[in-house]
Symmetry: C2
Subunit: 139 residues, 2 copies
């Protein structure tokens, strides 16, 4: 079982700590009574999605000996207009950097992450439709 | 639309940045090729859940003039045994601190968060069954 403790400090600031022992500050925006000292909780879902699938894609490309030297994962999320404003749609753009990286290898790595390995994607797709695109930058 | 950019650095380390401008480092555990320099992406979902509902509960209790002086939110997550190991169940324990805080007020605040306001809960419950409990500590 994964465990996390999220502790209120002041204003709307919370410090969260999970099993790995790393702490993340979260805060609300100023117009809501926060001090904007950390990311919003909803932002952590987008960051977690990009980080989880990014780790998969880098690992798979390395195993396939694709000469990847960089990866940016851009994640856009659309929320429902009505409360509770859940995410209903997410789009992931993978920008893979490396001279000689193959398009087929990149697409297969992303498909493996999306369909088989990415735990965050598998959790979030219960609420949101998740799509993706990719491009390779030879630099 | 909410946007996030998650950038690979080295090993399995990524730095994610969302609209608020705050950056979060994510990393894998050492046995997976990471350096454990930041939380796992899946941990961010638990932290986001605790932070989101925690902000709701603190805000609502303040509006109701309940004398809350502290809040800890403990979140446990159970993942499926099979790949992709999505969350299937989450349990939230709220520990509210404050002399004279009423049980009815606390429960109503949590119900409002769970049923109406918490965007993270509304997103994650697409995959995971989410339960909660609470206790009040007079200190």
């Amino acid at each position: 079982m994964a465990k996390a403790k999220i502790t209120f400090t002041s204003g709307l600031q919370f410090v969260g700590e999970a099993d790995s022992g790393h702490a993340v500050v979260m805060d609300g925006e100023e117009k809501s009574g926060g001090r904007n000292s950390g990311p919003r909780p909803m932002e952590l879902l987008l960051l977690g999605l990009g980080g989880c699938t990014g780790m998969d894609v880098v690992s798979i490309l390395r195993k396939k000996r694709e000469p990847v030297i960089g990866l940016e994962v851009n994640v856009n999320g659309i929320m429902a207009e009505d409360y509770p404003h859940k995410y209903t749609q997410m789009e992931i753009e993978y920008v893979v950097k490396g001279k000689g990286v193959t398009e087929g290898g990149v697409k297969r790595a992303i498909e493996l992450s999306m369909e088989k390995y990415c735990s965050v994607k598998a959790t979030l797709e219960g609420a949101a439709k998740i799509g993706w695109s990719c491009r390779i930058v030879e630099e």
